[in-house]
């Protein structure tokens, strides 16, 4: 078990990086606490595999430090860091039986055969691999092979962390949730630090206690799934997490509020007083479809919008509205009447977010 | 690269290159120097041996003949193998597995078995001592190989591409030439390489089916024993010149060698 700390970490694949675009990982400081279940979430190319390989030791960072329990491990290889890693496609030793596959890391360490057998049986029990122990790894299905890969990581006593690089990619959809639950169960049972890389937000939210969202080589937010949903600290988090993603409208600052099109939207005082200081930045407001109020009455601060289309998704509906030329989505419960042509929309101050240069503007206490 | 690997590699490459170096060495010496005593490099460097080959018709015609039938063979093999490989890759038809297997067994036939029958066959149709005869004879071994290699590469191209082309209105010949062939470019390169290789190096059939008009260089070289003994210098020069086309071909397909040698089957 280890606390993994990344200090001033940056990585470029080129030997003479010129600018920010040459960096796969831009300067970051981050701590993964001991025993946590974490997800590293982000789109393709954001640098999550690079970061994972730096943590595991398959890649040495070009700048900054990686520390395991305050010990600098930059130059140590994965086996020296006691890292176990599960890859995107199952890696098994085809010619060996499942038992021998699981026993392999232990035997390489010179562990006594009796201990090897007990450990292998223990892990096989947890992963439901017992009926397969005598089979050759070659003939297993993809999800069985992936379980064997995970098993090899778990079988060692001294493993400091297990890293998963999109491990469910080749698994059939109906088996994915089974394996996800298995992983959660393993985490609760063994309490090992686990970092799970994925581009699927559902996988991330069901597995992890805390999710690190990566975008453009940086971790833009690190929080619980709920925090990511309710208070996204970056426009990308708003857009990426949630289905559909957050509505974002580009605005200009004007006396105590913001404007877009002909609409003036006043902001709470705590935010409004920061506007002058943000004069040079690009401003957006964001609100999640779940929190947009839609009604037939103007109400307080209601804005007139034109209904464009409605998608009925069974237990709820998604309505797309045009507000001052911007398309926004709102989520309506199934029993709410759907406006035909026009509706009044409201953005409750509690859920309205202001972003300057894509970063959340926090109300100063 | 660790030391042991490096040593193995260097020793192996030296092993390969030394005999070739020796041949090149000899080709630049006169016969007197060769027979006079062993020298590690030519003391009296001379281009006479090469001059002989380039000026004596019986020598250089050998090269021309060989190159001619090898090119013929490569073109014919590719031309017939491409549609056949496509058929094997995309369709199931009556007897397809048996046909494929039968094709491969021809590769297993010893050329020596065909000496006499081929001689009689090509003589009877008046093709004895022609380039086309050798080209066709070599097809027996090259065409199965070409079909096998090309089928492997073609199977790597998804069938959806064919279907999309038909939906877009391409006729089959147009689709095949304009769309499909560029996609298997490296496969064609590798196939051409192997066809060239097997045809260029073969002696038995090439010698049996020719006498004067289409005499290949391999025949010319094996018959250079004269009354005064073997002309080592010229023989060495001739040998060096036969290595050159091979090196050229490797150079052209060098980017496909690694992938291609697996014949698309890893």
């Amino acid at each position: 078990m280890a606390e993994i700390r990344l200090q001033n970490l940056a990585h470029s694949y080129s030997s003479q990086p010129q600018g920010a675009t040459d960096y796969a990982i831009r300067e970051m400081d981050h701590v993964w606490e001991q025993g946590g279940a974490y997800a590293l979430l982000g789109p393709s190319g954001c640098g999550k595999s690079t970061l994972l390989n730096i943590i595991s030791g398959l890649l040495s960072p070009s700048e900054g430090d990686v520390l395991f329990d305050t010990r600098k491990v930059n130059t140590l290889s994965p086996e020296q860091r006691n890292i176990a890693q599960v890859f995107q496609f199952p890696v098994v030793y085809d010619t060996m039986t499942v038992f021998d596959n699981l026993a392999f890391p232990l035997r390489n360490q010179g562990v006594a055969e009796s201990r090897v057998a007990s450990k292998v049986h223990e892990i096989a029990e947890v992963l439901d691999l017992h009926p397969l122990l005598k089979r050759k790894a070659h003939n297993l299905t993809a999800d069985e092979k992936q379980k064997v890969s995970m098993g090899r990581g778990l079988v060692r006593d001294d493993v400091s962390a297990i890293l998963f690089d999109e491990p469910l990619t080749v698994i059939d959809p109906h088996l994915k949730w089974k394996l996800r639950r298995k992983l959660k169960q393993i985490h609760e049972q063994f309490n090992i630090t686990m970092i799970y890389v994925t581009h699927d937000q559902l996988e991330a939210s069901t597995f992890a206690d805390k999710i690190a969202v990566m975008y453009g080589g940086q971790i833009v937010q690190f929080g619980t799934p709920r925090e990511l949903f309710e208070r996204p600290q970056h426009t990308f988090v708003g857009y990426f997490v949630g289905s559909p993603g957050m509505n974002l409208i580009e605005v200009q600052a004007r006396e105590g509020g913001v404007t877009f099109g002909d609409q003036h939207l006043p902001l709470p005082a705590a935010l409004a007083e920061q506007l002058p200081g943000l004069a040079a930045k690009r401003l957006h407001i964001g609100i999640r479809p779940e929190f947009v109020q839609v009604s037939d009455e103007p109400g307080v601060g209601g804005m007139l919008a034109e209904a464009v289309r409605v998608e009925d998704l069974g237990t709820y509906k998604i309505i797309t509205l045009r507000l001052q030329g911007h398309l926004i989505k709102a989520r309506l419960p199934e029993d709410q009447a759907v406006p035909k042509y026009e509706a009044w929309v409201g953005f409750p101050a509690q859920w309205l977010m202001l972003y300057a240069d894509d970063r959340l503007v926090e109300a100063q206490p | 690269m660790n030391l042991r690997k490096r040593v193995v590699l260097i020793v192996y490459i030296a092993f390969l290159m030394v005999p070739i170096y020796w041949l090149i060495n000899m080709s630049f010496k006169s016969n007197t120097e060769i027979l006079g005593g062993l020298t590690l490099w030519p003391q009296g460097f001379t281009l006479d041996n090469y001059k002989v080959i380039f000026t004596d018709r019986s020598w250089y015609s050998g090269y021309i003949n060989s190159l001619y039938y090898v090119c013929l063979n490569t073109i014919i093999s590719l031309a017939v193998a491409l549609p056949a490989a496509y058929a094997f890759s995309r369709f199931r038809f009556l007897g397809d597995k048996h046909l494929f297997f039968w094709l491969l067994t021809n590769r297993m036939a010893p050329p020596a078995v065909f000496l006499l029958p081929f001689f009689q066959l090509y003589s009877s149709i008046g093709l004895f001592d022609t380039h086309i005869a050798v080209a066709l004879a070599h097809c027996l071994f090259n065409v199965p190989l070409a079909v096998w290699i090309l089928e492997g590469f073609m199977s790597g191209v998804p069938k959806e591409i064919d279907e999309t082309a038909y939906i877009d209105g391409y006729s089959f010949p147009k689709f095949f030439v304009k769309l499909f062939i560029p996609l298997i470019g490296s496969g064609i390169g590798v196939t051409a390489f192997f066809c060239f290789m097997f045809s260029w190096v073969e002696l038995l059939l090439a010698r049996t089916l020719t006498s004067v008009d289409a005499k290949p260089i391999v025949s010319v070289m094996t018959r250079t024993v004269s009354a005064s003994g073997i002309d080592w210098g010229v023989l060495a020069a001739a040998g060096v010149l036969t290595i050159l086309p091979g090196m050229l071909v490797i150079w052209f397909v060098r980017n496909h060698v690694a992938k291609g040698f697996a014949l698309g089957r890893v």
Binding site: N108 | L116, V257
Partner: protein, 287 residues
Amino acid sequence: MTKTHDNRAWWLVLPVFLLVAFSAILPMMTVVNYSVQDIFDSSTRFFVGADWYRQILNDPRLHDSLLRQFIFSGCVLLIEIPLGIAVALAMPTRGRWASACLIVMAIPLLIPWNVVGTIWQIFGRADIGLLGYSLRELGISYNYASNTRDAWLTVLVMDVWHWTSLVALLCYSGLRAIPDAYYQAARIDRASAWAVFRYIQLPKLKSVLLIAVMLRFMDSFMIYTEPFVLTGGGPGNATTFLSQTLTKMAVGQFDLGPAAAFSLIYFLIILLVSWLFYTAMTHSDQK
């Protein structure tokens, strides 16, 4: 890929079929025809049934030649396959050095077979060849023309020189196809280099090794030109293998009947042993 069932595909296959049939079936029919007849000249021939086959199968020349051939092919496989694998493992994985190695290694494969024989014929002579000369200077007695053991060694070394690169290049392609993740997982599992070879590389090389073994067996079993140029089959019959025996019989002595029978037996032996190899190697991972 799912293939559509369509017999019209025969049109695409027809050129190949006709060409190969022309080259294969017609001559084969001739051979079968000759193998059951005694031919004095074009107008005098008698049907003799299986006589030639019986004669051939009892012919000691054939037995000796066959034995020599099996020993030769066996040695060839025993040396070239492990050596080829070792060279492939030693090669750099990518980059300019890899390309350079590939090109250099491919050169012996493209040399006409008679030139291969000529190169070694020269190389092994004590008067004009580096090898022969060096061995003589070192006091080692070596003469491939008159000494059977030397002739065998030279023929074997020549074949290793000629063909090992094919095995190496095939294995090199096979190794390149192994994804990095396997090596990474092995490192994490703290596997030794030998374990990596045994459990990752060797299993993944199975399909290319099959191609390599089949090709080397078949081609070594059919070998004619190189030993013929190098030793002429000598000293005596020491390096006369099957193809040369057959050629002597067919073209030299013009014994068409026995030669034809021999041809068919020769072909059948290759087919049989190839099939055995193929079955053995593909069934070993069917457990």
